[in-house]
């Protein structure tokens, strides 16, 4: 379903991704772990189409479409969704208006009629309950003054609303208290579907207790240096990254 081949990318002249190869089949959940600064967020931003990053080599296909040929909004409409590690606060833009515009952009792309305000409100209330966010959040500015955990839940809520084909969750578990982690994990598990693939970037095994991945990959210096089953995460938790031959400083940053 998703096929990443030899992906290289740089930002402001600095090379960050050094040949990523990754194949994900429909229905699978892949976890990506790795030291700080290894390029995990860069990979997710490149997949979503952030123009601040330059792709210098490689290809990415989603269901046969070359993603790199598509503009950011077209990728989103084809089903790419990124839950940001640091969701942006946009004061003055109401969450509700933003989400409805997004849902209707998606629907238009799939030749469906616009959802009216009442229908949308009903749907939005449902999904906000699913991630345990008070529907009052819908009326606030996008992420405006949200706590760290509320921002993460808002990201999952958007994923539930937009029903993507490829969901990339960039550290959606960080900064969550124990209850919120459960809520977010339930949300992610609800996203699991036979026609959807999920990339989950995380530093912590604890998330993987709730969402068991099909594969775990270790990203270091912009390359996947090891892949394995869910047990790999346990091994990393126990041993750290040192045994994989990653530079000490990178580990020290962890």
């Amino acid at each position: 379903m998703l096929s990443i081949k030899n992906l290289h990318a740089c930002v402001e002249g600095k090379q960050i991704l050094n040949g990523i190869n990754l194949e994900i089949k429909a229905g699978e959940v892949h976890a990506i772990m790795g030291p700080n600064g290894s390029g995990k967020s860069t990979l997710s931003q490149v997949l979503a189409g952030n123009e601040a990053f330059d792709v210098t080599a490689g290809e990415v296909f989603l269901n046969g479409d070359n993603l790199l040929d598509l503009a950011t909004e077209e990728r989103a409409r084809e089903g790419v969704f990124l839950a940001f590690q640091y969701p942006v606060e946009i004061p003055g833009v109401s969450n509700l208006q933003f989400l409805r515009t997004a849902v209707n952009a998606m629907r238009k792309h799939h030749s469906k009629e616009d959802m009216n305000a009442a229908e949308f409100m009903k749907l939005a209330k449902e999904v906000s309950k699913q991630v345990d966010l008070d529907p009052a959040f819908l009326k606030r500015g996008v992420n405006e003054g949200f706590s760290g955990g509320e921002k993460k839940r808002n990201e999952i809520m958007q994923a539930l609303l937009l029903q993507p084909k490829l969901a990339i969750l960039d550290e959606t578990d960080s900064g969550l208290d124990i209850d919120a982690l459960k809520v977010v994990s339930d949300g992610v598990n609800a996203l699991r579907a036979p026609d959807r693939c999920i990339i989950m970037i995380t530093h912590y095994q604890r998330l993987l207790d709730h969402i068991v991945p099909d594969y775990v990959h270790v990203l270091a210096d912009g390359k996947i240096i090891k892949s394995g089953s869910a047990e790999l995460a346990l091994e990393l938790e126990a041993k750290g990254y040192g045994w994989l031959g990653i530079k000490d400083e990178a580990v020290a940053n962890q």
Partner: protein, 432 residues
């Protein structure tokens, strides 16, 4: 150094003689004192950015026909229509309410004519100004024709807004000089919507002046919408005098053109008076919009709150100059001024200048001005959810002015403003 050009004498010949003699005399007086008016140049401080757009050619001096036909305004409430600066009762719909009088200058009796003559220029300096600052409202004093005197007796409340439609239409170049005087009695309430529109693409000038006089406890809302055509040079002046515990609120929404200039001058003359001035300006193409505001705290214990937002696209130019003058006796003044600006392109220009003159020692005065751009991270976030770039930019731009548009207390005006804004966005955020 070149000497500043003089105002052509062609400008000093007013049309329309059917006015009370007091007003004819006043107009004649003003014209004589203007004979040696120097025109602003870019060295004239308060015309620094706009002087180059001023076209005061002899052609521009000619009067525009006041009998031109116009379509009736599409407004259900109270309306007064001025065509090329002259009130046209047959296409207007005056409210007839106890305590309210709306009169054309030409129909004023001796007493009211004396009142009008007394009010003209009171709220603004329309006397020849000291060198360095040129006030083109002076020209209005020499050229006005059949203007409007609105009087509200004490304790009178107008139940609906009064729309004053300023229509400029011409088949040749020339100028129009609307003059409106509003006198609001004690504890009376009034909302005036001034809507400036035009038809035809002749190069014309609208030189308009509106003056509000608020007695003790009066409450006036003034809304100003400017959607004139590109070729209109607009020079507007609004003067406000506020007595004790009166409240004045101004909402202006302006779209750019060849030259748009609005000077808003508020004098808080009575203790406890309060004003709130909101303004939104959007410009695109090669448009120009220049807002100058002055708030004078003359008496003690007055509040002023000013919020202006400019958005400039393409190669356009928006200017905000906000002056707060706190007189020596105006203790316990409270003044707040905020001007935020959004540049949508590298080619656009925005100039903002707060000016504070404070002569009292016990005052609270805050001001802030910023110039920013749309944030790329925010655009990426919105677009990554499937929004088009246009929609993302519209949401972000509207976020910048929503608060001000939402505060406009007349729905019809909010709708017109939104229509104008959408046309602006269609141009500014065209997808190539």
């Amino acid at each position: 150094m070149k000497t500043a050009p003089m105002l052509s004498s062609a400008f000093l010949q007013p049309a329309g003689q059917a006015l009370p003699t007091t007003l004819l005399a006043l107009r004649f007086d003003r014209a004589s004192s203007l004979a040696d008016l120097l025109l602003p140049t870019r060295r004239t401080e308060n015309w620094k950015y706009s002087a180059k757009h001023l076209k005061l050619t002899d052609e521009m001096a000619s009067s525009l026909p006041s009998d031109a036909s116009v379509e009736a305004a599409d407004i259900s409430g109270y309306t007064v229509v001025l065509v090329n600066g002259v009130v046209r009762p047959e296409v207007s719909n005056y409210p007839s309410i106890e305590g309210l009088s709306i009169q054309r200058f030409s129909e004023l009796d001796v007493d009211d004519a004396a009142l009008a003559a007394d009010l003209i220029g009171k709220s603004i300096s329309d006397q020849p100004a000291k060198s360095g600052s040129v006030n083109l409202s002076q020209l209005n004093g020499a050229r006005f024709e059949d203007g409007l005197l609105i009087q509200l007796k004490p304790n009178t409340v107008l139940d609906q807004p009064l729309f004053v439609i300023h229509h400029t239409t011409a088949s040749h170049s020339g100028s129009a000089y609307p003059r409106i005087l509003v006198a609001v009695g004690r504890n009376s309430q009034l909302t005036v919507v001034e809507d400036y529109v035009s038809s035809g693409d002749c190069s014309v000038m609208v030189n308009t002046t509106t003056e509000f006089n608020l007695d003790d406890g009066a409450n006036v809302t003034s809304i100003r919408l400017n959607t004139e055509g590109q070729a209109v040079q607009h020079m507007g002046t609004t003067g406000v005098r506020q007595q004790r515990s009166s409240r004045f609120e101004s909402h202006s929404v302006g779209f750019g053109g060849t030259l748009r200039r609005h000077d808003l001058h508020v004098r808080l003359e009575g203790e406890g008076a309060e004003c709130k001035l909101n303004g939104v300006v959007v410009t695109q193409g090669t448009q120009h919009y220049d807002n100058h505001t002055t708030i004078e705290h003359v008496a003690a214990n007055c509040n002023s709150e000013e919020t202006y937002r400019n958005i400039a696209a393409d190669k356009s130019h928006a200017i905000f100059n906000g002056r707060i003058h706190i007189h020596q006796d105006a203790q316990k003044s409270n003044a707040n001024m905020s001007n935020k600006n959004l540049l949508l392109t590298n080619g656009a220009e925005i100039d903002t200048k707060p000016e504070l003159e404070i002569y009292a020692d016990d005052v609270k005065c805050a001001h802030g001005a910023t110039i920013g751009r749309l944030d790329d991270e925010s655009i990426f976030y919105l677009v990554s959810r499937g929004l088009s770039r246009r929609d993302a930019k519209v949401l972000l731009t509207m976020a910048f002015i929503n608060e001000l548009v939402d505060q406009i207390p007349v729905e019809q005006v909010r709708e017109s403003a939104n229509i104008g804004l959408n046309q602006f966005f269609d141009q500014a955020f065209q997808e190539v």
